[in-house]
């Protein structure tokens, strides 16, 4: 089967029930989405499916169909996406393992809500576990990214 990942069409050679996470990681070498639980309970693999946050670990690859997967690698290679810039500015990561998922949840939020409130951030990111305790920097970075994104659009 073929799936669309970060702008490319890629061939996947795996049974249809294979979780998309393993098709990405083991099959395609797309290692940005992380394994944390395999049951959609931690958010470390969070990526986008046609712009909406989804959990590759608990989505069989056969369900992807024609939809476009965006992983953290698809935001930008040089770190120039507003969410990546905000995360860097605020020095968010500690171990960093959850941060791709956190950022992808933030990207999905900012697509829907360009100027989120704290409550919006809570709602969108509360299912992304950070074991290191970067929550307050994540919150600040989402707001900063919203601002950077607006500035980018206004230019």
């Amino acid at each position: 089967m073929r799936i669309r990942v970060n702008g490319d069409v890629r061939r996947v050679d795996a049974p249809g029930e294979t979780p998309t996470l393993w098709a990405l990681r083991d099959g395609l070498g797309v290692l940005g989405p992380k394994y944390g639980c395999g049951i959609g309970a931690c958010g470390a693999c969070t990526s986008l499916l046609d712009g909406r946050a989804f959990r590759p670990c608990s989505t069989p690859v056969t369900e992807i169909g024609d939809r476009e997967i965006t992983t953290v690698e698809g935001l930008s290679r040089d770190g120039s996406h507003p969410v990546q810039r905000a995360w860097a500015e605020l020095d968010v990561p500690q171990c960093g393992y959850c941060q791709a998922g956190q950022m992808m949840s933030a990207v999905a939020l900012l697509r829907r809500v360009p100027a989120p409130t704290d409550a919006d951030v809570d709602e969108a990111l509360r299912d992304n576990v950070c074991r290191c305790g970067t929550h307050s920097r994540i919150r600040a970075a989402v707001h900063r990214a919203a601002r950077l994104q607006r500035e980018e659009r206004d230019r």
Partner: protein
């Protein structure tokens, strides 16, 4: 024209002429230095300059720093590289940071005990300063001037009347010098440009683009992935194994029984997991009736009796501290390749690279020199990766199949089969004077040894790592160890995470019992502890201690001096809703000289997150022989929607650097629990403060 530096180095070429860029930090203009023919030849033909194991200057002038500790999220790749860069006089952003393989050249590579910056503050600065002194000598010789007239800055050597020489053109000369022939002096603090200023993580660019490589990202050509079916109850062993269905799964290649479980090896992770689902194991033996509720009864019964105290009003309270899992974001894993040529390679984000190397040599039957242990990034550590259980599995399996094998623990493996923070039961006694102030104390507790670190098998060791009572109240701690029913190991702050939490919850209980102010009581008892007192005052001031809080809110305080640092915490909770929540946690720390303020703040944030999580419900329980919890669904770690505001006060200090990674956990947990006590009027029975312990 302009040129920009990047982490790979600072050589740019334009129109065939070599241009070397010297970035000068601290506001001076960044200069691009044209390099003459001789220098260009030196650049092309020069050797790299490696004055010691930690520093390498490349031909293009870029710098590689080798960090001898494991990055677990605590920021050591940034803080340790900063120490070298400072003394080598290069900006941090041009330094490429490498994590050392296990190698005796690097000294003690174990990462733990909040010790990395403390133990390496001087040696790594010296490593950088040695490189600087040699490069300065090389430039001075070329110019025919005394060393003292030269200064190093921005990756080059300068002289008032000469064109600066970038390091890249000095390598061969510097490498030819005898390091013993130069005087190495460390920069005075007033000349620091990196130390003490916030530095962003050197790994951010990789982490934020998905390029960072963690243990689970290691892939080897021809490698297999293994997952293990582990005992469904404590101590169970396979009576029989039917691997027919597992081996029928496409891409499953082997099934092998190890002491820790039955491994399914496959070409890829999904196939290995599918194979594990189809594996039929008949388990027997062990402790199918084990129960943590029962363990706590045993611990309660084992608490030593308290001696009689002096005359006065007795006050007593008991607390239980729960079993905890590390629940690293990245489950433990290791990749090993026991090759046919007699070499062994291991890739694992271990906190104990040297132990892994010795273990791999022993298991594979080769000399240690034939074993290479490489250390990728770790998705959290918290003490869990001090252990070598997963590397043992990987090496054993690779030795059987003679191919690279990556062993992955699934989340439920990680939650149920790890090495846990021991449980404990504490009874504290005090004798109070007429004002309600304790004049005598006794802390009796029963806990388990650390089974994965046998040296931690005596009450003396428990006291050495957990007895931190810093108040001026005479008394003693009496520890009784009973055999551990679980595998136990280091967990952020080790026994201090139990003893200090109990003692601080007790002190808050004393204050609330007597109607005393928690902060004032602590202040009065902190004689001869100026650093701690300063922290307590700073935390109380920042919090606004004494102001009126909203209905249902209350505050708690706690202190600790440990790891060569001091910390005080004031926490505010809101108990007006169904579940208590932490609103704000103020943490004042004196960690001596701060290397990276951003890193210190992050470590405090993390400790507070652990404190709130373990105060408000995260604990491991065992029923019918099995750990009940299996994921973040039932091990409720803090989420962003419940995260308190954390305010960190860095108390200025010129003391030698202290540790910070573990520092704030115990006082933050005690402060949160004490705040709940103050808000509800009910003394918590331990941690967690909600629900039952055990």
């Amino acid at each position: 024209m302009t040129a920009r530096t990047n982490r790979r180095g600072f050589l740019a070429t334009a129109g065939g002429a070599a241009l070397v860029l010297v970035a000068v930090p601290g506001g001076l203009p960044t200069g691009v230095l044209p390099v003459g023919v001789a220098e260009a030849e030196a650049l092309a033909g020069g050797a790299t300059f490696e004055p010691n194991a930690f520093v390498r200057v490349e031909r293009d002038g870029s710098v590689e720093v080798t960090v001898p500790k494991t990055e677990l999220g605590q920021g050591v790749r940034t803080s340790l590289a900063s120490l070298v860069a400072e003394e080598l006089a290069v900006p941090l952003h041009v330094v490429r940071v490498r994590t050392a393989d296990a190698d005796p050249r690097y000294g003690n590579q174990a990462t733990g005990g909040s010790s990395s910056v403390r133990t390496l503050f001087e040696p790594l600065r010296r490593a950088g300063a040695t490189g600087r002194a040699l490069l300065v000598r090389a430039a001075a010789q070329r110019w025919g001037v005394p060393d003292a007239e030269c200064t190093a800055a921005g990756g080059g050597v300068r002289h008032p009347r000469r064109q600066p020489l970038p390091y890249g053109v000095l390598l061969a000369d510097a490498a030819a010098l005898d390091p013993a022939a130069v005087e190495v002096s460390l920069l005075p603090p007033e000349r620091w440009r990196i130390i003490g200023r916030p530095q962003r993580r050197v790994d951010n660019a990789d982490v934020l683009t998905g390029r960072a490589r963690y243990g689970l990202d290691v892939t080897r050509p021809g490698g297999l992935v293994a997952v293990l079916a582990r005992p469904p109850w404590l101590g169970a062993a396979p009576r029989s194994i039917d691997d027919t269905a597992a081996l029928a799964v496409p891409h499953v290649v082997r099934v092998e029984a190890l002491a820790s479980g039955v491994a399914v090896l496959a070409d890829d992770t999904a196939s290995a997991l599918r194979g594990r689902e189809r594996l039929v194991v008949d388990w027997s033996g062990g402790e199918p009736a084990a129960s943590s509720a029962r363990w706590f009864e045993d611990l309660d019964a084992a608490v030593p009796p308290s001696p009689d105290g002096p005359a006065g009003t007795p006050f007593t309270a008991s607390f239980r501290m729960p079993v905890l899992a590390h629940a690293c974001m990245e489950p433990v894993n290791a990749t090993a390749h026991v090759a046919d040529d007699g070499t062994v390679r291991v890739w694992t984000a271990t906190q104990s690279p040297e132990a892994v190397r010795r273990q791999a040599a022993e298991l594979a039957g080769v000399d240690v020199s034939a074993v290479t242990v490489s250390v990728p990034l770790a998705g959290g550590g918290f003490g869990r990766r001090a252990e070598t259980d997963v590397t043992e599995e990987a090496v054993r399996l690779s030795a059987l199949v003679r191919r690279p094998v990556k062993v992955m623990w699934t989340r439920d493996d990680d939650m149920r089969h790890g090495s846990f923070r021991p449980a404990s039961s504490h009874t504290l006694h005090a004798v109070l004077d007429e004002r309600g102030v304790p004049v005598w104390r006794h802390h009796a507790l029963a806990t388990w040894p650390l089974t994965t670190a046998p040296v931690f098998g005596t009450p003396e060791l428990v006291r050495a790592f957990g007895d931190r009572f810093g108040y001026d109240v005479p008394g003693a701690v009496d520890v009784r160890l009973i055999p551990s029913p679980l595998r136990t190991g280091f967990w952020r702050s080790v026994y201090a995470g139990q003893l200090v939490v109990a003692e601080e919850m007790f002190l808050t209980a004393v204050a609330l019992h007597g109607g005393l102010d928690q902060v004032a009581l602590r202040r009065d008892l902190l004689t001869g502890k100026p650093r701690l007192l300063t922290c307590l005052d700073a935390a109380a001031a920042e919090f606004g201690w004494g102001r009126r809080l909203p209905a249902g809110h209350a505050a708690g305080a706690a202190c600790l001096d440990d790891y060569g640092s001091a910390v005080a915490v004031v926490a505010e909770v809101d108990c007006s809703g169904e579940q208590p929540r932490a609103v704000r946690v103020v943490v004042a720390v004196d960690v001596g000289v701060v290397v990276n303020p951003s890193g210190v703040r992050a470590q405090v944030d993390g400790a507070v997150s652990d404190a709130v999580s373990t105060a408000f419900g995260a604990q491991i329980t065992v029923r019918e022989g099995a750990v009940v919890q299996s994921s973040f669904r039932d091990y409720p770690w803090l989420r962003i929607d419940r995260a308190p505001v954390v305010d960190v006060v860095l108390v200025p200090s010129t003391a030698d650097p202290g540790g910070v990674g573990e520092l704030a956990y115990a006082p933050a947990a005690a402060a949160v629990a004490g705040a709940v006590h103050a808000a509800t009027g009910r003394r918590p029975a331990g941690l967690p403060v909600v629900g039952a312990v055990g």
